[in-house]
């Protein structure tokens, strides 16, 4: 399968292109709608269920500046598909052009191990790991803005900052277990 390449195409003038990958195709739509609201730069959003992307869109697809994997922690499937999709990304992307967006992290029905696995994954790839509240409108707007902050840098629209630079500051780190008993 052909892998997605970060520099195979020329960037557009004052445009940033983001790819949202989510197996459930729930949250990505609302995110996309909010993302294209951005007026300071033209943001193009591509939605995908998983990678690899179909070949036929190869030409129409602009250069992707940031790939976001949306993982719903309550479903194992969601994580697995994201994990499976990763190998269709060109290594170049992992220099600050990939990030993970986790939803439902505070849900009681989430096994703690899963969050840890996601952390480990993100950390091993030196990618930032964001958390989002997909239920509330505020949560969505906030998530959108954070993605935009990263996207703008990744698309080279922020002077004095590069994707790699930012990702060095924000990349996820595997926490040593913060399980000191909290009730005593």
């Amino acid at each position: 399968m052909s892998s997605l390449k970060p520099f195979s195409k020329l960037p557009g003038l004052n445009t940033a292109n983001i790819l949202l990958v989510e197996s459930e195709e729930q949250f990505q739509q609302s995110l996309a709608d909010a993302l294209v609201e951005e007026t300071s730069v033209t943001v193009n959003v591509r939605l995908a269920k998983s990678l690899p992307l179909p070949l036929e869109n190869e030409e129409s697809r602009p250069r992707i500046d940031l790939v976001v994997f949306i993982i719903n922690l309550t479903s194992e499937l969601s994580f697995q598909s994201a994990d499976a999709s990763l190998k269709y990304l060109d290594p170049g992307y992992f220099l600050g052009k990939v990030c993970f967006l986790v939803t439902n992290a505070r849900n009681a029905s989430v096994p703690t191990e899963r969050l840890d696995t996601v952390r480990k994954l993100a950390a091993s790839l030196h990618c930032p790991l964001l958390f989002a509240e997909d239920q509330t409108p505020d949560g969505v707007t906030n998530a959108t803005e954070r993605l935009l902050t990263i996207l703008k840098v990744a698309a080279g629209l922020v002077p004095l900052a590069t994707a790699l630079y930012l990702s060095n500051l924000t990349q996820c780190t595997v926490p040593l277990d913060i399980d000191q008993p909290s009730f005593d």
């Binding site: 609201e37 951005e38 007026t39 300071s40 707007t141």
Partner: protein, 295 residues
């Protein structure tokens, strides 16, 4: 203690600011009216160009179509002059020709579909087909019924939306489906059309003849009991229509019941009987009304 700490604090004020900033960002940038109009005009121009080209291609297509149609009917020499006419045409004539053929075939298919032929779609990569049978009555298109069939190992109906009271399975057995499907489909479509027709008639009756009471009917519309009233004497006549032949829209048996026997003896009611046997129900009733036999 009461004054909760975050209200009015710097932090909450910051959040407030953020919200305001957002709302400001989301109003689209002010563009001057003139610019807008220019853009609009430009867009319209482009659209016009598109339409023009479309029209052109369509026209040329039409020409080809007509020529093709003539080819299929007329003889050669015209065809030749067609050819040379074609040659001075632009280099994409080949493509146009193909398109023309395509449209033609499609139209044929559509026509076939419209005149009530079944259209057949290959499903599951040729492992099965889906046949759809259209029904119509008096030029009114009614429901379309579908059958999905497996081809291998033997022809077998695996899915359909034919109403349960149409004896599909028995039909499949009788008109042996394996050997000639055509016959089977024929009978089936007869059944369905008849059923649709009867249903339609009943519907029409209910709509047009409020004075006539539909005493009883059934899902198959194979039995229908109506109540007439004779104008002057106001005697009630019970009319039972029995469509025992399910492939027909006309009743096989019509019988009247009335406690005043002599009415039924009368010639006009005999006529009515035959009338009901021969003409569609709602029309028959119409004429009967005209004759003044019923209210």
């Amino acid at each position: 203690m009461e004054g909760t700490s975050t209200k009015g604090g710097v932090l909450s004020l910051l959040s407030l600011l953020e919200v305001q900033a957002r709302s400001r960002r989301h109003v689209p940038p002010q563009r001057s009216r003139v610019k807008e109009l220019r853009a609009e005009a430009e867009a319209l121009r482009v659209r016009r160009e598109q339409l023009k080209t479309e029209i052109q291609t369509h026209q040329s297509l039409q020409r080809l179509r007509t020529s093709l149609d003539r080819q299929s009917t007329h003889d050669e020499e015209e065809e030749e002059e067609e050819e040379e006419e074609m040659d001075e045409d632009s280099e994409n004539s080949q493509l146009l020709k193909l398109m023309a053929r395509h449209t033609r075939v499609k139209d044929l298919l559509l026509a076939h579909h419209l005149i009530g032929g079944y259209d057949i779609v290959k499903t599951r990569h040729g492992k099965g087909v889906c046949v759809s049978v259209a029904t119509a009555y008096e030029g009114v298109c009614l429901e379309t019924y579908n059958l999905e069939m497996d081809l291998k190992p033997t022809l077998r109906i695996c899915r359909h939306n034919v109403p349960p009271f149409v004896p599909l399975s028995s039909l499949a057995e009788q008109g042996d489906m394996q050997t000639d499907i055509r016959a089977f489909l024929e009978t089936l479509s007869q059944h369905l059309n008849a059923f649709a027709g009867r249903k339609q008639q009943l519907k029409l009756v209910k709509e047009q003849h409020k004075t006539i009471e539909v005493m009883e009917s059934n899902a198959l519309c194979s039995i229908l009991v109506l109540m007439f009233t004779v104008p002057k004497t106001k005697t009630a006549i019970l009319c039972t229509l029995n469509y025992s032949d399910h492939t027909a829209c006309l009743p096989a048996r019509v019988q009247f019941e009335c406690d005043v026997k002599e009415i039924l003896e009368s010639t006009e009611w005999r006529k009515n009987c035959s009338l009901l046997m021969e003409t569609p129900l709602h029309k028959a009733l119409m004429t009967m009304k005209k004759m003044g036999n019923i209210v």
